[in-house]
């Protein structure tokens, strides 16, 4: 018999005995056959099957037990009545301490158990439009390269022509625009160029006026714009006559033809929509990258549409661009347009599966702890249960009653937990929610409530049924005899003690983890060690020239567009440098403190073994004066010069991290490196290293892994660049002047500021912050569970030892001795847990080589102090209760 068989046998216990007798064997056969087949399909499929089966077995078993009019085919079987529910509520009131501890543990456990699924649901929620789940995004996933290949207007035209699985297709391209009244100016607003079909696909009518018509897409048509409700209210004071008014979008005036209703922010959080002028597919414009989406035709499922799209993509003769053979067509929910290419959906990713398993583990620990509390309470009712047994109540009847009592408790906890989940969205900072996709919905819906209740039932099963079965395993005579002797008839055994030790050990380890993470965040935030410049003196800004606002020739001709971008960038930098107070301007695709792109490189002369994919490095493209502007000397070799922009530009400057980590400290000048592709494909050209600079915060969170490569770029190479403006003093106050100069240089130029460079948090920063929060939350949860477990054990110990305590008091034992004897066991478990947890915590410290010994010791002591405090607080209640028992009470058996 395998572990899975044992597990299924346990699940089967959720059903009433007579049902098991009739159908148990057949159910086991079905489980055998199903699990064999799922195992052949892989680990993920098997895990998913086991999870589904577990929930279904427990839920079905409970439903079968609670089915009205169920005829038990064994005499005096488990029956559930309102009386049990009332009794359950009465028990909650009778034992407030236990109720509080149990509800607390499950209030944490149930939302944590729901958490990963709830998050995935929120992230992949359908668009808030009629039948939003039918809106699908069409993408080309390149598994070898690990990213999606962008679709182009040419693809869009071909797909629109060939696909029958969609009612209609639409395309969009995101950008930011300077929006103002006729006089220009104003801050940038997120917008999108969209095809006229967008609004038909989404089925959202305008609040005022009209949406974009097919006639607006034609080159030479009048410039029109549709604005969002929020923009209409904030910039135009909700002017009822807005339709027909002229609004400056970048350099040109556009006529407002419509206002979209409140809450319509398609595709992410847009407030402005311009016509996407598709032009003839054969023109250079056909290569423009767009997002493509559509509404599935009636009766067509996403899988069918995907199959059809695959066929169309594989046949370039139908008009699509020819693609790499690895590229796969994907049709998935619109949410995946921002999540990335995930085969099988977000739910099947290892990260989500593991998070779910961990979350369920936390819930399981919470259930075990509540189970101990229930066990202790059941033990105190030995007499009552013995009498009921003697009067003819079956074991199933008593177990079902305890289950219902537990269910009342779990339902209460689920309710509180759902309330917490409901409050959660309000805790998201405004600056974070402002960038979240508009369809993301963290609210609690009927599905969430259903899942919470299912978890409550499972929790009640684990926490209530198992202890009840164990407690009721004695014979009637034995129960009566033990009840008379004020004994509970059973002992908790070593398992509960081991669980508490494990709780504490994990809590100590988690504290170590949380302290390590917070230490890293603090150090990276407060020091410029990893950045190399006084970041607080720099204003970070992004300069973009949206192609969509160019006039016909510039938009379709890459050379014209490039020249215009180059001219604007050069002139802006020249004007900025001439501004009083501006010390210098650095231009690059990423500034220090920002998340730099990651590439893999090969060093000439160092053979790569099979399966090795080169060394991971961070890369940046910088202008010729970048290092001067940041005050960074070239440590060896030379800086970039105008000559490096000629020909193949096969030069690079590396940082000291690169020299140390990739070249092993050897001389870098003259060595050659090249980039390797992520998947199959040809490596890039060889680049000669001409200089070495110090660390400039390409990966500030992990300065020891900050190996990077810089390459030069010429103005116009990049449509969007980062500007690091060295202002000194208060950099943010320079923002209006920056915008004014940019608007003067080129009215189409969009400048978005990221604030002071020292406050820029990107990429790994968010990960670190999330880890910091997650670690803190985990510590709080584990401490709470450890505390409730210790409370349960103490409570149980007091119940068990009532008579002993009374006799000891009668014999003159001091209160202090009684208290210490009660607390000794708990403190022993605390110490054992702390000792076991220390090596675990050491693992986290071991991974952080920068941590000083003093910091480690301090964190350990801090962790121990926190655990000891929690333990003492948890012990206090039961100990005081024990001390209140008088000798006469104990001897009369009323303890």
């Amino acid at each position: 018999m395998t572990v899975r068989h044992v597990y299924f046998a346990i699940l089967l216990r959720a059903f009433p005995g007579d049902f098991r007798e009739r159908r148990g064997e057949a159910m086991r056969q079905a489980f055998d056959a199903a699990q064999e087949e799922h195992r052949a399909s892989g680990r993920a499929a098997l895990l998913s099957f086991l999870a589904r089966t577990s929930v279904d077995m427990v839920a079905s078993g409970c439903r079968e037990r609670l089915r009205p009019g169920r005829r038990s085919r064994t005499p005096n079987g488990a029956q559930v009545s309102w009386l049990d529910v009332k009794l359950g509520v009465r028990m909650l009131r009778k034992h407030p301490g236990l109720t509080l501890a149990s509800v607390f543990a499950l209030t944490i456990g149930i939302p944590v158990g729901l958490g990963p699924g709830h998050f995935v649901d929120a992230l992949t929620a359908p668009l808030p439009v009629p039948e939003g789940d039918r809106i699908q995004v069409l993408r080309l996933w390149n598994p070898a390269a690990g990213h999606t290949d962008p679709a182009t207007l040419r693809d869009f035209d071909a797909w629109r022509e060939a696909l029958t699985s969609f009612q209609a297709l639409a395309a969009y391209r995101q950008a930011s625009y300077n929006i103002g009244a006729e006089d220009g100016g104003g801050a940038p607003v997120r917008g999108a160029e969209v095809t006229a079909s967008t609004f038909a696909v989404l089925r959202v009518p305008p609040e005022l006026g009209r949406t974009i018509d097919p006639g607006d897409e034609v080159d030479g048509a009048a410039n029109v714009v549709v604005i969002g409700h929020d923009l209409w209210r904030s910039r135009f004071a909700g002017d009822p006559g807005i339709v027909g008014r002229s609004v400056r979008v970048g350099p040109t005036l556009h006529t407002v033809v419509g206002v979209m209703p409140e809450g319509f922010l398609f595709p992410i959080r847009q407030q402005v929509w311009l016509p996407l002028r598709t032009g003839p597919a054969s023109s250079a414009r056909g290569d423009a990258e767009v997002g493509v989406f559509g509404r599935l035709a009636d009766g067509v499922e996403a899988a069918q549409a995907q199959s059809e799209l695959s066929t169309v993509v594989s046949r370039p003769d139908l008009g699509s661009l020819a693609r790499d053979e690895h590229v796969r067509a994907q049709v998935s929910a619109f949410a995946y347009s921002v999540i990335g290419g995930l085969e099988g959906g977000l739910r099947t990713t290892p990260e989500v599966l593991w998070s779910q398993v961990l979350a369920w583990l936390v819930l399981f620990v919470a259930c075990i702890n509540v189970g101990m509390l229930i066990f202790a309470r059941t033990a105190s009712r030995a007499g009552e249960l013995a009498v009921r047994t003697a009067l003819g109540a079956s074991r199933a009847r008593i177990v079902s009653q305890i289950f219902v009592e537990c269910l009342v408790l779990a339902a209460l906890a689920a309710g509180v937990g759902l309330g917490l989940l409901g409050v959660l969205p309000r805790l998201i900072p405004a600056n974070v929610s402002a960038i979240l996709p508009y369809w993301m919905d963290f609210g609690v819906d009927a599905g969430t409530v259903g899942r919470a209740m299912a978890l409550a039932v499972v929790s009640a099963g684990v926490a209530g049924v198992v202890p009840a079965l164990r407690f009721t395993s004695n014979s009637v005579q034995e129960n009566i005899r033990r009840a008379q002797g004020r004994r509970t008839g059973t002992r908790s055994g070593g398992l509960s003690g081991a669980l508490i030790v494990a709780d504490v050990a994990v809590a100590v380890a988690a504290i170590g983890f949380a302290v390590t993470v917070s230490d890293m965040v603090r150090r990276a935030k407060t020091t410029d060690e990893g950045v190399g410049i006084p970041a607080e003196e720099y204003l970070a800004a992004t300069l973009t020239l949206p192609r969509g606002l160019m006039t016909g020739g510039e938009a379709s001709d890459p050379v014209q567009y490039r020249n215009r971008v180059a001219a604007a960038q050069q002139e802006l930098v020249r004007r900025l440098k001439a501004e009083p107070g501006v010390k210098d301007v650095a231009v690059a695709d990423a500034l220090p403190r920002m998340e730099h792109h990651s590439r893999r490189v090969e060093v000439e002369g160092e053979a790569l073994s099979d399966g090795e994919h080169g060394r991971s490095v961070r890369v940046a493209r910088v202008d010729l004066d970048y290092f001067d502007a940041l005050g960074q000397p070239i440590l060896s070799g030379r800086g970039f010069g105008t000559g490096d922009l000629q020909g193949n530009r096969d030069v690079a400057i590396v940082n000291t991290g690169f020299v140390a980590n990739v070249l092993g400290g050897q001389s870098a000048i003259g060595r050659r490196i090249r980039y390797l592709p992520w998947g199959d494909g040809e490596p890039g050209p060889w680049l000669e290293i001409v200089g070495v600079v110090g660390s400039l915060g390409m990966r500030v969170v992990s300065p020891t892994q900050d190996q990077g490569v810089y390459q030069p770029f010429a103005p116009g190479d990049l449509g969007s660049v980062q500007l690091g403006i060295h202002v000194g003093g208060d950099p943010v106050s320079f923002t209006p002047r920056l915008r004014a100069i940019a608007a003067d240089v080129d009215p189409t130029a969009v400048v978005t500021t990221g604030g002071v460079l020292s406050d820029v948090f990107e990429g790994d920063w968010y990960l670190m912050r999330a880890l910091g929060w997650g670690g803190g939350l985990l510590v709080a949860i584990l401490l709470a569970l450890a505390a409730s477990g210790i409370y349960a054990m103490m409570s149980f110990a007091v119940t068990e030892r009532t008579t002993e305590i009374g006799i000891r008091s009668a014999l003159g034992a001091r209160r202090r001795d009684v208290a210490s004897s009660i607390g000794l066991r708990a403190m022993g478990q605390l110490v054992a847990g702390v000792v076991l947890g220390m090596p675990l915590a050491g693992v986290f410290y071991g991974g952080n080589a920068d941590s000083a010994l003093a910091g480690m010791v301090g964190a350990f002591l801090f962790g121990v102090a926190v655990i000891a405090t929690v333990g003492l607080v948890a012990c206090t209640g039961p100990t005081l209760r024990a001390l209140r028992i008088t000798p006469s009470e104990a001897l009369r058996g009323k303890g």
């Binding site: 959720a14 009739r22 159910m27 056969q29 489980f31 056959a33 199903a34 089966t53 279904d56 077995m57």
Partner: protein, 119 residues
């Protein structure tokens, strides 16, 4: 056996389980797969839910246990697998439900609620 002349509408799960058995006798996992296939995954028939339904349908006399086919493999413990078949009452219940669904469909068509409906 509580009722062999069931006239109330069948639930989606009952309908798919009976439908699965209308073709051939099946064991439990066979029914699960048939329900999943026929409903396009829309009706869940996990083990616990399925056997609750089967238990009730057996009780109502719409389904009966059947002998395993001669060539059917035994289970992992070497015991013959349990098979189920549709009874005459079960077939009649299916037929009644199909008629009811047809009437419902015709009503929906007459109200032009379906694509391609014509007055």
């Amino acid at each position: 056996m509580s009722d062999t002349t069931r006239t109330d509408p069948l639930s989606a799960r009952d309908w798919h389980v009976l439908m699965a058995l209308s073709e051939t006798d099946l064991h439990g996992y066979g029914i699960m797969k048939a329900v999943d296939r026929d409903s396009g995954g829309k009706v869940s028939a996990e083990i616990g839910s399925l056997y609750r339904v089967l238990d009730r349908l057996l009780d109502e006399g719409l389904v009966a246990e059947a002998d395993a086919p001669r060539d059917a493999p035994d289970d992992t413990r070497g015991r013959p697998r349990r098979y189920y078949r549709l009874t005459r009452a079960g077939r009649e219940a299916l037929r009644r439900e199909a008629l009811r669904l047809r009437e419902t469909l015709e009503l929906a068509r007459s109200r032009q609620l379906l694509p391609g409906s014509r007055t």
